[in-house]
């Protein structure tokens, strides 16, 4: 298993001139996703609306009506049916895209397992939103993290540009390893925030992402079937194969990202180290909080504090080796996250501790439940929490911090 760490690379500055054929548009994170999906040319998009995902679906409808996006949009009667149709359309041999959030993702849960078991390389965007009860519409990653065992690849992005680019990359990886992939960004902070976004030209995306033409499909000429009852040995083998495919995702993601960077000039890596040189501590974050943490690190560095940032982009499979390499020699980590698993704590905190277990001279790890329920975690707040983490003794459990 090998994985490389990307050099820091954020979305291009607002004044950067787009390459010939590229569009430079002011887009919300969700609309950026719709443009990314359009460029990937899925044939079928079964979808069901839910706040805060709806602008993705609406923009796809608009692009279809305008004749820019040649796609069969299936207005399903539920997310369960949307995902059911995604799976079979994919197995019939066409590229498939969908998007959802929160309650919708949970209604899909049974079919999420089915999709990975059937090895259907669907790409889906999930917009992180709190899960009821009680009702809320706030950014919180618990919805997608609760799907971490479903056999889906998961990427967490921090802005619209990254979401657009990652949707296109996700198709490349998913179709190579034959697993479904979820691109996850947070409600409102990313989904509804407007930023200048570069939409790569169709020619460049076509050159990057070849037509989907799987050797195995539901086809009367081929005659293959899916999903029959299997015995224990077959099930064992099936799960082992699924695990092997997951393991390939690390290398495939690094390669897909490097190729993308060559083609489009933007890359992200499966994780990113920001100002980590000689650090006494790294803030570990994923999703929208990364953007604020970057600013906080600049503030801390300016104040003479040796604090850096480790952004986790690929969450499933969890890039254990790359994370270990990134934190080697750093005495202390503080995870700041916007999710909560009752009885378990912060999910990234758990995953990180598991990844570091048995490592020689492991860093001490703080786990801060900083943004649960969508509460604002400003750069100033992150500075304050980081300063606390620099002196406090870490405890095994995640700690509520406001």
């Amino acid at each position: 298993m090998s994985a490389t760490v990307a050099t820091p690379r954020r979305s291009p500055p607002a004044n950067q001139a787009p390459a010939p054929g590229d569009l430079r548009l002011l887009l919300s994170g969700n609309h950026a996703v719709s443009y990314g999906a359009m460029r990937a040319r899925p044939e079928v998009v079964p979808i069901y609306p839910i706040t805060p995902q709806t602008p993705i679906a609406e923009k796809i409808s608009d692009l279809q009506l305008a004749g820019d996006f040649d796609v069969d949009l299936m207005t399903a009667e539920s997310e369960h049916s949307a995902m059911s149709a995604c799976i079979t359309a994919s197995l019939t041999g066409v590229r498939v895209f969908t998007a959802t959030a929160s309650q919708g993702l949970f209604l899909m849960h049974e079919m999420l397992h089915y999709a990975s078991g059937a090895r259907a390389p669907i790409v889906m965007v999930n917009v992180n939103r709190t899960i009821g009860s009680p009702w809320g519409f706030w950014p919180d990653q618990t919805d997608s993290l609760a799907q971490r065992d479903t056999g889906w690849i998961q990427y967490y992005t921090e802005n619209g540009q990254e979401s657009l680019d990652t949707v296109i990359q996700a198709f490349k990886v998913a179709e190579e390893v034959l697993l479904p992939a979820m691109v996850v960004h947070e409600a409102f902070y990313v989904s509804h925030a407007l930023e200048p976004v570069t939409v790569p030209s169709q020619e460049r995306v076509d050159a990057y992402l070849p037509r989907f033409d799987p050797p195995h499909k539901l086809d009367t000429e081929i005659g293959e079937s899916w999903g029959n009852v299997v015995n224990q040995d077959m099930f064992y083998r099936h799960r082992k194969d699924l695990g092997a495919a997951m393991n390939q995702v690390l290398e495939a993601s690094v390669r897909a990202d490097a190729d993308y960077k060559d083609a489009m000039g933007r890359g992200y890596g499966i994780l990113e180290k920001y100002r980590t040189e000689d650090a006494d501590m790294l803030i570990v974050a994923f999703g929208a909080m990364v953007g604020s943490a970057r600013v906080a690190v600049d503030m801390l560095r300016a104040a003479g504090k040796a604090v850096g940032l480790l952004k986790i982009k690929l969450f499933r499979p969890f890039p254990v080796e790359a994370v270990r390499a990134a934190v080697a020699g750093v005495p202390r980590l503080v995870v700041m996250e916007r999710n909560f698993s009752p009885g378990g704590g912060g999910v990234l905190h758990q995953e990180l501790k598991a990844a570091l277990y048995g490592m020689p001279d492991p860093p001490a790890v703080h786990g801060y439940l900083a943004g649960v329920g969508g509460v604002n975690v400003s750069p100033k707040k992150i500075v304050e929490l980081a300063e606390k983490a620099l002196t406090d003794e870490p405890v095994p459990d995640s700690v509520w911090q406001r």
């Binding site: 079928v44 079964p46 059911s84 359309a89 019939t92 066409v94 009367t220 999903g227 029959n228």
Partner: protein
């Protein structure tokens, strides 16, 4: 004696795992051989999935996608939409689901697919209960029938799925049963050659679940029609009704007495069931008359 010649294309083959004499397996034989080899099947958990066969065997010489219990219609829609995008307009998509997977847990997906007029033939093999899990009741189980979850007899009526589907105004709805194989095969062929959402509910006696003798499926199935318990009819575009086979003056008791699930009934209960059968038959006839000559208005 009337004999029926089936154009066996061996799309469905012997050696499958159904109980010998199973009405559902017989229906699958007529349905698949009529649909032909240029068909992709969708099957949810049910006795049909068992009949279809465990990996690496298959009794069906077509690609089959085994889906989840709720998802048959949505899964079939995904295939049919993908086929259109591939330019394969001549491939049939066939969902073969039980009554549990149709009337109950799969109903939302079915209703959604019907509303969108998805292009598929959806055949419900109706054995009036969840046979695969040990003969529990479904909403298709008739009034007073004993199942493992209604040991005292089911207190509510059988849901009228044909009328519910007709109310979706889809191109084709039909009822059929294995005791009338030529009628069943004709309806499947008719549905196959149409476009859009086509729905056929086939009454398929389950030997174990109904308490019927091994050689009784066809006899019981014919009695269901001949007593008026399960009339055979078609509805096109939700309006044009055609009755194919109705009651022939045989009391419903002749049908009930063939089945252990009705053995507990007293005389009054049999009368109550007879009254229900008569009432539903008169309602169906009234519907046919009131719809006669109606032009379809969108």
């Amino acid at each position: 004696m009337h004999t029926y010649e089936l154009d066996e294309q061996k799309v469905f083959n012997s050696g499958h795992n159904a109980c010998p004499g199973c009405g559902e397996a017989l229906a699958v034989r007529y349905v698949l051989n009529t649909m032909g080899p240029n068909t992709i099947g969708v099957i949810p958990p049910s006795c049909i999935a068992i009949i279809s066969g465990p990996q690496p065997y298959s009794s069906m010489r077509i690609p089959v996608y085994q889906t989840t219990l709720e998802a048959s219609a949505a899964s079939a829609a995904g295939i049919s939409r993908a086929l259109k995008r591939q330019g394969k307009h001549d491939v049939n998509v066939l969902a073969l689901a039980g009554d549990g997977g149709t009337y109950d847990i799969g109903f939302q997906a079915l209703s959604g697919a019907a509303e969108r007029n998805e292009d598929m033939v959806y055949v419900c093999l109706d054995n009036e209960g969840y046979m695969n899990t040990g003969a529990q009741k479904s909403s298709s189980t008739p009034y007073l029938a004993v199942t493992s979850s209604t040991p005292g007899g089911k207190p509510s009526d059988k849901k009228d799925i044909a009328e519910i589907m007709a109310a979706h105004r889809i191109p084709y709805v039909a009822t059929a049963t294995v005791g009338y194989p030529d009628d069943l095969a004709r309806k499947v062929a008719k549905a196959r050659d149409m476009k859009g959402m086509r729905f056929i509910v086939v009454l398929t006696p389950c030997l174990d679940g109904w308490g019927v003798a091994d050689d009784g499926a066809v006899r019981v199935s014919r009695l269901a029609v001949d007593t008026g318990f399960f009339p055979l009819y078609e509805v096109e575009d939700g309006e044009r009704y055609t009755i194919n086979h109705g009651p022939k003056g045989i009391p419903v008791e002749r049908y009930l007495e063939q089945q252990k699930r009705y053995r507990h009934l007293d005389e009054d209960q049999v009368k109550e069931i007879q009254a229900g059968v008569d009432h539903r038959w008169s309602l169906l006839q009234a519907r046919v008359e009131s719809m006669a000559g109606q032009a379809r208005i969108r």
